[in-house]
Symmetry: C2
């Protein structure tokens, strides 16, 4: 098995990149067409113009590929989350929340296919954890006075941050429900409805210390 390391690919064999990216693009395309459960490994390999056994050289199953394939998309989503940071005293704090929903809507087919009932538990868990981490570090950055950048330890080693898990789950819940209904409202409306709820959590957060992460 050959796997590209998490970040900042320094020197990766061209063939590996080509194969992995082809497989990821193929999956993303296919998820837009039919349910994940109706997509076979052979389908993905064929769509990627790669042999079926090359698939197994990189990924154990479709879910592992899906997790890898959605990473770039997820990063985009997470990038639109600094709105959750209380220091962000923009004139319109819902702007980046709006970007979040817009981003979601833009790839609605993909997101619904991976996060919905026919999707992958692995992807759902991955997304939730990534957002949890983002919320966690944003909160710590605020609390610690914007000082040194936190050591980027995996969330698995950190204490259980209930508010972060709460917030992340809430965002995923709203997103999933919105996608399930076929995005019946504009990103602006969704942002306007969601923002007060997030704000209530923030104000509580900074106001009452008794509820923070458990040791």
């Amino acid at each position: 098995m050959v796997t590209v390391g998490g970040s900042s690919t320094p020197k990766v064999d061209r063939r590996v990149r080509r194969t992995q990216e082809a497989l990821q693009r193929a999956l993303i395309r296919l998820v837009g067409e039919r349910d994940l459960s109706q997509i076979s490994i052979a389908d993905v390999a064929e769509q990627a113009e790669v042999s079926r056994s090359a698939f197994y050289d990189h990924y154990r199953d479709v879910h592992e590929l899906a997790e890898a394939a959605c990473t770039a998309v997820i990063d985009d989503l997470i990038a639109s989350l600094p709105a959750l940071d209380p220091v962000n005293t923009d004139e319109d704090p819902t702007r980046s929340l709006q970007a979040f929903f817009a981003n979601l809507a833009e790839h609605a087919g993909l997101h619904r296919g991976l996060l919905g009932p026919q999707g992958s538990a692995r992807v759902i868990d991955h997304v939730r954890r990534r957002i949890t981490e983002a919320v966690h570090t944003a909160a710590r950055r605020t609390a610690a006075g914007d000082g040194a950048p936190e050591s980027a330890a995996s969330a698995a080693d950190l204490p259980l941050d209930v508010p972060a898990a709460f917030t992340a789950g809430a965002l995923v819940g709203v997103a999933a429900e919105w996608l399930r209904r076929g995005c019946p409202h504009s990103p602006a409306e969704m942002a306007a409805s969601t923002w007060p709820l997030l704000a209530a959590l923030h104000h509580l957060d900074v106001g009452t210390p008794p509820c923070r992460q458990l040791p």
Copy 2:
């Protein structure tokens, strides 16, 4: 395919009940032992002492069985959610939240197996939607003055209730993260940490009408 109707089984062939219940019990037992992805239909059928083809007479795949199998357990969880109702002015409002986490911990293996990264997107979605419905009807019951019982329409037909989806997702998020870490804190601690967050949403809910469900 033979399927038992949703509620209040009036007259179901004894054989159907026996087979379905045996399959569900078998799955629940197996999920406690290994990952869902490592459980084959043949395994479940054998554990249930039922032929493999009888499985397909009732369920399309393992996820459909899992959804059916967890329904009873989910009902227990949802039963411990009236704490979310603002009218509930108990002396200790975290009591039923505590029951929620205790319930979760009691079947930790099952819940982690079905809701975690190796679980089933179908189950995750099902749980989230059930909780969303529960929160939604609880909120409406409160707002409408405890009057007539709402027509029990499926959540799919109702307008998108952002606060309900938000709350439900949040609970699932906290539960998933807690389970993932191996339930490192007592249900009492978890309830104490989670309650203020829920309360903040409630107070906002009753205080500011601008953010309700979208039409």
